[in-house]
């Protein structure tokens, strides 16, 4: 079913620790491996360090200690100049969206393409299509301050996936949308995943975690455990039933 699990490794954390300033270690001794083409949820209570962990993954900060390999490159000690090309192979949904308020939804989503030097013609073909798909066909030219919370979140998701990233990192991507939309967005992610994208999604939505039977990275008290898919007790309001191994074919 998956195309891209060639056994290659997309991400490898080894004994990674992170502290802010001189505070305590928010992440302690984190080690895990994500195969290319894999799909993981990242769970854990609020303040456990999920966003911190993801920020290491999307190269927003360096770990205080340990080693992080991304696409087989050591990034914890890499030169600054080596990072932008790596970043372009990522797609990131930030927990706070981080949209540019004075750009239209369309221009926001086009940003990664423009930065990568994609032709305007291609941009104007692909971006509206994707925006329509996430249900924002009518709000293409609206600026973020006039969008609803869920609409902003969908713009942020569209921006993260527009360049078909090799690694998709999403931080609480469904906190502001209804369950139907959340399901639809997760199908989008699992669709990308089937095309080879490695996916990591931090979420508090247990319903989603149960419905999509993907393995979990669970953070608690600074420690990470890799857990199997969550037990299927029930699927509330999430369509017809569980989707083993991800996505409706």
């Amino acid at each position: 079913m998956r195309q891209a699990s060639h056994g290659k490794i997309a991400v490898r954390f080894e004994s990674v620790g992170l502290r802010y300033g001189s505070g305590p270690e928010v992440l302690q001794d984190i080690s895990f491996t994500l195969d290319q083409g894999s799909f993981h949820f990242l769970t854990g209570p609020s303040g456990a360090g999920k966003t911190s962990l993801l920020s290491l993954l999307y190269l927003a900060r360096r770990p205080s200690r340990g080693s992080i390999r991304l696409f087989d490159e050591e990034v914890s000690t890499a030169a600054r100049a080596a990072l932008p090309p790596l970043r372009r192979r990522l797609g990131v949904v930030f927990q706070e969206f981080r949209l540019l308020d004075h750009l239209s939804a369309l221009d926001n989503v086009a940003l990664p393409l423009r930065v990568a030097g994609v032709a305007e013609a291609d941009i104007h073909r692909h971006v509206p299509e994707l925006l329509a798909w996430v249900g924002l066909g009518d709000h293409m030219h609206a600026k973020p301050p006039t969008l609803s919370g869920g609409q902003k979140q969908r713009v942020a998701i569209a921006r993260a996936v527009i360049n078909r990233p090799e690694l998709l990192v999403a931080d609480e991507p469904t906190g502001n949308v209804d369950d139907r939309t959340a399901l639809r967005l997760l199908h989008l992610f699992s669709e990308l995943n089937k095309l080879g994208t490695t996916v990591v999604i931090a979420t508090h939505n247990e319903g989603l975690v149960r419905r999509f039977q993907f393995p979990r990275l669970h953070l608690e008290a600074g420690k990470l455990d890799v857990l199997p898919p969550m037990a299927l007790t029930a699927s509330v309001g999430m369509g017809t039933g569980p989707i083993p191994g991800g996505g409706q074919s």
Binding site: L59, P85, R87, H102, L111, R114, V115, G117, A119
Partner: protein, 297 residues
């Protein structure tokens, strides 16, 4: 990378940018005033110096004894000839008796009296442009042909004026230096403030994978354009003001204040102000963005 050639992202285009041109306009306007003031003073001073050093008056005392009249005339003529052969002298002309009579009238009551008096004669001398004649040597030589000849170099009061104007010029340049410094500081600071608003945007572009150079360019271009716009506005504003000031100056008596309107070269210097502000803003933007970025990883 194609991005280097493509047009700007509209990334820096929000209302906060409006502050930058506004501020640059005011600062360029002030710098314009200061600069044109200093340059006018320069012109004025040059003119005065030239006036003062450019003309001399030679005094030839009247001869006494028999044939005093013709002897005096001879002495004046010899002195004029001596002066005319001097390479540093452009023209030398005896002041006609009539003008002398006019000049003495208040002292002597009537012009007729002068004929019977040993009134000294005067020779107006124009020094060759740029020449700085050695007056002491010249007096020596003049006395050989016209005993008792003396040189009055008109600097009596012009010297004081010149010293005053030189002081003022020094002042004006000091002030223009300060205004320039303040302008530069303001442009730098305004650019930074405008960018502070954009910090989140810089971060997003960075995390999306844009290189430092690419991001810096987006903002530097915009800063250049905004500061240039403001500079042009400030210059345009200073145009009518400088014109009005020129009119004011023209109303002053012409003698002391010659033509102090600005020359072509000086207008060119003023025209340089907006691009200088633009470049300054651009460099600041680039540096600020890069500093923000290096703090990011």
């Amino acid at each position: 990378m194609i991005g280097f050639l493509r047009s700007d992202l509209p990334v820096a285009r929000d209302a906060s940018g409006l502050f930058l041109p506004w501020l640059v306009a005011v600062m360029v306007f002030l710098a314009c005033l200061a600069l044109s003031g200093a340059m006018s003073l320069d012109s004025l001073l040059d003119r005065w110096s030239r006036d003062a050093s450019g003309t001399l008056t030679v005094q030839v005392p009247a001869a006494t004894g028999a044939n005093a009249e013709t002897e005096t005339n001879d002495r004046v003529e010899r002195a004029v000839r001596l002066l005319e052969t001097d390479a540093q002298v452009a023209t030398a002309m005896a002041v006609p008796r009539e003008r002398l009579a006019e000049m003495l009238e208040p002292w002597l009551g009537s012009a007729e009296l002068m004929d019977s008096l040993p009134v000294p004669r005067l020779i107006d001398v124009t020094v060759a442009p740029g020449a700085m004649p050695d007056l002491d040597a010249l007096v020596e030589r003049l006395r050989a042909v016209a005993p008792g000849a003396a040189i009055d170099d008109h600097r009596v009061w012009l010297a004081r004026l010149i010293r005053l104007a030189e002081g003022l010029r020094l002042l004006a340049w000091a002030v223009i230096g300060l205004v320039a410094l303040a302008t530069a500081a303001m442009v730098v600071h305004a650019t930074r403030t405008a960018l502070a608003v954009h910090r989140p945007h810089i971060e997003v572009l960075h995390l999306i994978g844009a290189t430092d150079a690419y991001i810096a360019r987006q903002f530097a271009r915009r800063a250049f354009a905004l500061a240039l716009l403001g500079g042009v506005g400030g210059l345009a504003l200073s145009g009518p003001v400088l014109w009005g000031i020129g009119r004011l100056v023209q109303r002053l008596e012409g003698g002391l204040v010659p033509d102090i309107t600005l020359g072509m070269g000086q207008w060119l210097v003023l025209l340089l102000l907006p691009p200088v502000a633009g470049v300054l803003s651009m460099l600041t933007a680039r540096r600020t963005v890069r500093r923000t970025l290096t703090r990011l990883l």
